[in-house]
Amino acid sequence: MSSTIQPLEFNGNWELSPSLESTDHLSLKNQYGLFINGNFVKPLSKKFFPTINPSNESTIAMIAEAEEKDVNLAVKSARVAYDGHWSKMPNKERAKYIYRIARMIQEKSKELSVIETLDGGKPIRESRDIDIPLAAAHFFYYAGWADKLKYAFPIANPKPVGVAGQIIPWNFPLMMAAWKIAPALATGNTLVLKPAESTSLTALKLAEIIQEADLPPGVVNIITGPGTTGNLMVNHRKIDKIAFTGSTAVGKSIMKNIAGSNKKSTMELGGKAANIVFEDAPLDQAVEGVINGIYFNQGHVCCAGSRLFIQESIYDLFIRKLKDRMQSLILGNPLDKNTDIGAINSHNQLRSINKYIDIGKKEGAEIFQLNCEIPSKGYWCAPTLFTNVSQSHAIAREEIFGPVLAVQTFRTTNEVINKANNTPYGLSAGVWTDKGSKVFNLTSKLNAGVVWANTYNKFDPTSPFGGYKESGHGREGGLHGLEAYLNLS
């Protein structure tokens, strides 16, 4: 069959003129303090670190590093705000504050998208169409819940937890901040949030919005710094709840730290999602879905469809289509509106991805990469696909968090269910088939918190997200996401 399929020749037809997003409308400072008790303050540590544009390695701004005294101040301000007024404010008034934040994010969406792309390296198309609108939508959705909690948890007398400590990753900086802050505020908690070290800027812009929205001081505190800052939050006695999104390894170490304490927790950790394509699937749509599943945001996605399972009967055809589609991806300046694949978020991450690519080759898998020019400066990784992969290969078992897809095959439904579930992770999965009955069979058998059928990487504020097994516990989003910030009786 494969011998009759001719490779597509694009003859350079995919080349587009550059279409760069402008940056002259940004209002950025050279140096950012910590957002504590409603004000930007200099860190008591007196330390600052640079935040880098990963697409050209230039420094965008200096960011404060919070140490123990700074963390204490932030937690204290959250505690005072909680006890003083926020937990006692009428629900509908709390809602109005959250609506304000949603509206201001919408008003400033252009600026926020460009900063997100500069600081994190993701394509402007993604920050413009996905990250920022979803962040606003999240605030809008949870604002509405603030005065409706008794309907979400009837007779359970929902009460806020208190002060939440929230630690978020660098892959969707503002969106993750929204996922954490919006439900915490709607349920009447105050909080201290720490963005990832390499992507603090949009969280600090959000702090400016929160200031502008006139949110009472101390309700939201945003402090910056490396993992050690996060560790101080995790171990802080006056924090009632830790909400963490990040790697499974760090998640486990946080759980060790708070084990036996009364701290509540939600953990959104890693994944190694199976994306399963059956022979009766709409193949072209499935190709799009597989591409989006793994190469969206350079594969820096905890729910990325990093394990592809193709039914044997369509293997050759599907791989050919997949490779053709890969060749049409545009890697380059993240600010260019035509760019599909932006920069890898940091030098460390690039090293880690490259290590896995080497392991993949050494373990005998066959590599295929997008044939493209790699910019001379910045951190880049061409979209990569491995065939001849088996279940035991490291690239099929471990989370790479980069644009690397491991392809395997299957014959029967049972076989693919077993293979898909044979992982310590359980965040998400994808199923491609034209048969609805097969979809529902698969969704009932796959051990994952989210299952996408004939689509992938879809997110919505109303839809709960979170994992089984070592992908973490608790859900964010939807009605279920409220529960993580409430004590129910």
Binding site: F140, G144, K148, K445, N447, T462
Partner: protein, 292 residues
């Protein structure tokens, strides 16, 4: 020294996003201490029919908008109303309200719009269900809007009554034809101006002024109206009888309910929704799978 002569406002009705005069050309007069202060359209049966046509046309596109979008549009109404508070307070005082009561009526109305706006994307999360049927089927129940709702607005509450009879009805995707308070019609037409500036698609909300005596009967017997929201008091029994012709669903509310905080409830929205249950087969595999 000559005094500047005030420009008086013509109050018209609101159909399909436009402000026509009643086709009948008739009016009734509002007076304060025997001095007339407004001439208000006395809408006819024909105006009502036009409004129902507009509402029917607007229904599906409105219902098919995402719940998030509907939610934002309703929130926008609250934003617009907040920015025009003074106008409404003045209008209410002309109609005999104290400044304090008028101001309270505004605050309650705006907050109520925001409350219900938030339900657009939540109502099905609270009331929808996946039903564990005993066969190999995926079975779920969702709530959908009913269609065109005929509303007889509160007679005594000029703005809060109006808002309470419109927002819970349209938040789920219904369109409506509203007969405004006969005694206090001015706020309803000013509210129509707010709506027409709030991204609400034309025809989703239609507001007629006139007498319930004349319009209640045709609205209850109109065959293209799916349900009635009766927020007005003293409804004639004949209205309920008329409604049975096409089995209109009827929900009634009184002014005490409208002024109570308990009115802020999703059950009001649900009264104007139908439930729909879908069955879908789940592939049965008789061989064993290892689930963990």
């Amino acid at each position: 020294m000559s005094e500047r002569i005030k420009v008086l406002k013509t109050y018209k009705i609101f159909i399909d996003g436009k402000f026509p005069r009643t086709e009948s050309g008739r009016y009734y007069q509002l007076k304060s201490k025997d001095i007339p202060y407004a001439n208000v359209c006395l809408s006819s049966k024909k105006d009502l029919r036009n409004a129902v046509v507009a509402a029917r046309k607007a229904f599906l596109p409105w219902a098919e908008k995402t719940a998030y979008n509907r939610s934002q549009i309703l929130y926008r109404i609250a934003e617009m109303l907040e920015s025009r508070k003074t106008q409404f307070i003045d209008e209410l005082t002309i109609q005999g309200f104290s400044k304090k009561d008028a101001s309270k009526e505004l605050d309650q109305s705006i907050d109520r719009i925001i409350y219900f706006a938030g339900w657009a994307d939540k109502i099905n999360q609270v009331f929808g269900a996946v039903n564990p049927v005993a066969s190999s089927h995926y079975n779920f129940t969702l709530f959908e809007p009913m269609g065109v709702i005929g509303v007889l607005s509160s007679d005594e509450s000029p703005l809060l009554g109006l808002v309470s009879s419109i927002i819970p009805v349209i938040v789920s995707g219904n369109s409506c034809v509203v007969i405004a308070s006969e005694k206090y019609p001015l706020s309803s037409i000013s509210f129509a101006e707010v709506i027409s500036n709030s991204d609400v698609p034309s025809g989703v909300i239609n507001i007629l002024t006139g007498t319930k005596k004349e319009l209640a009967s045709p609205i209850s017997s109109h065959m293209d109206i799916n349900a009635l929201g009766l927020f007005s008091q003293k409804i004639d029994k004949q209205i309920f009888i008329n409604a049975t012709e096409n089995l209109k669903r009827i929900s009634s509310f009184n002014d005490i309910q409208i002024y109570s905080d308990d009115f802020d409830s999703p059950y009001i929205i649900k009264k104007f929704m139908e439930s729909k249950t879908t069955w879908h087969p789940v592939e049965v595999d008789f061989t064993k799978t290892n689930n963990y």
